[in-house]
Symmetry: C2
Subunit: 298 residues, 2 copies
């Protein structure tokens, strides 16, 4: 479902800690996403603290005005934050929270941006201090390259933004994040439950990456570079992929992704058999169907 | 192999009929490709005659300055042409040539632009009048939509242009077409034998279309439109496809396309099995390989 358009300004009376320009953000993990969040939030006038294990990353973020202040030690900054955004690899969040959440300000809103939710959101909410709230979000944007040097506040412009609330989240936090997403510059803002989110991501994002990687690896092809046109480039653009993050995301969504992959394999096999049997009419009908379906996706 | 850069002007002394601006072109079939050829050639100052079965198409072409003159009757125009470019569906060329080639000027250069060559070029050269020459070319550009209304001279700008000569072609015609391709605005101009061409097309173009159509048809997905990002859009752009032409091209290249499809299916299956087995390291290595390979394709 699409969330109706809301006022771009944050509602001033929702929660004293998150309201208006007084709100202070902490970003945990200054990679592409963390750096982009920080840069855009600072552009919007917020105070942004950055936490990262890597001293060079913190130095770079500070030198380039991406954060107001940074530290390798969360104890130094967490108590000053009203909203904390986790931009870590999904499996790194739980240990981090376990080690450091006692430094959180009471009432802190904790957001996490993992690419899958079913195995992430619930366990983190189980672990979360009862006087804080953890809400899962998924801004559908990024970069194929890794690290803060590739962060860019513009990645939010027009991007789809998903909010994945559970029955342990409050209307206030969802409304706050809707306003925040709009301030960030995102386009369509939607709410999904964790299972629907992971099913959608399994098909639209994970399966497409499996296909691109597999097509690129089908056989040796470097001698074909000079003949390549848009079709092959389009289908393999995402074969340049972060090999540390994606296997983790795939394994976290294994059953769904296996099912989507099997359905795709069956569709290719079916087309292959029509070709083998000289079934011109069958191929034609498949193309009429794919053309009709694709038109909806603009 | 890449053909070395040649002078953009046509060589004036190669053949009296094809030389310089005196050369007159006949385009057979005014669809997207035929219309685009005609429009670009007229922009370049050539005289262009158009032949098509459809009176409305001819009228549109004339009204929009795409051709100098058009006719449904090839007998009216063929005798005035020095170079004839077939822009028909591949299987339509042979009967057309059989019916009308007695109207060709002696010495006419006949070009054909089919997307596959092995089963096309040889039979057409067998059929060709001995005082004319048939040369296969493949400008790698087009439009997803059909008909002269979608023709556009700009499709040639920077496009790869392939020349597929056999031992029955002359150096003069190949050099003429190299100059012509450069005048049209094409980028890299290459020569390939028919088998290498069809193998390359089978992988880079036909397999990618099989994948896009199959992904689009994997299962009902219209409810996902609002969540779609660039990955899915990139992989399915070519799922909007001309359902009349592509099955014909696939069947003309059946053995190669079946082989490429089977290799791709095996690559996806291999990745699927790594995912099923929780083989994180295997998936990681596949992604490192695909990233490395993709970098070469720019």
């Amino acid at each position: 479902m699409t969330v109706p358009e809301m006022t771009p300004a944050l509602h001033p009376n929702l929660h004293p800690k998150w309201a208006g320009s007084r709100c202070t953000f902490g970003i945990v993990g200054l990679g592409v996403m963390g750096g982009s969040f920080a840069a855009r939030l600072r552009q919007l006038g917020y105070t942004v603290y950055g936490m990262d294990l890597d001293a060079d990353t913190l130095q770079y973020a500070q030198d380039h005005g991406i954060i107001d202040e940074g530290s390798q030690d969360p104890a130094m900054l967490l108590p000053q934050c009203d909203v904390v955004i986790f931009c870590l690899y999904p499996t790194k969040i739980e240990p981090w929270l376990r080690d450091h959440q006692h430094h959180l300000n009471p009432g802190t809103l904790v957001l996490e941006i993992s690419g899958v939710k079913t195995g992430i959101t619930g366990p983190l909410q189980d672990l979360m201090r009862p006087d804080c709230e953890l809400l899962s979000i998924h801004p559908m944007c990024g970069r194929e390259s890794q690290g803060i040097r590739y962060s860019d506040p513009k990645i939010f412009d027009g991007a789809n933004f998903l909010i994945i609330p559970t029955d342990r989240n409050t209307h206030e936090s969802v409304r706050f994040v809707q306003g925040l997403a709009r301030e960030l510059g995102c386009g369509t803002i939607s709410e999904l439950d964790p299972e629907s989110h992971d099913r959608m991501i399994g098909f639209l994002s994970q399966l497409t990456h499996v296909i691109a990687v597999s097509l690129m690896n089908t056989h040796e092809n470097s001698h074909l570079v000079q003949y390549t046109g848009d079709s092959f480039r389009d289908l393999t653009r995402i074969a340049r992929i972060n090999e540390n993050m994606w296997p983790e995301l795939f394994l976290l969504n294994r059953e769904i992704l296996l099912d989507e992959t099997d359905q795709f394999l069956a569709a290719v096999q079916q087309f292959r058999d029509m070709l083998a049997n000289g079934d011109r009419q069958g191929m034609k009908e498949a193309m009429i169907e794919s053309t009709k379906r694709r038109e909806k996706f603009g």
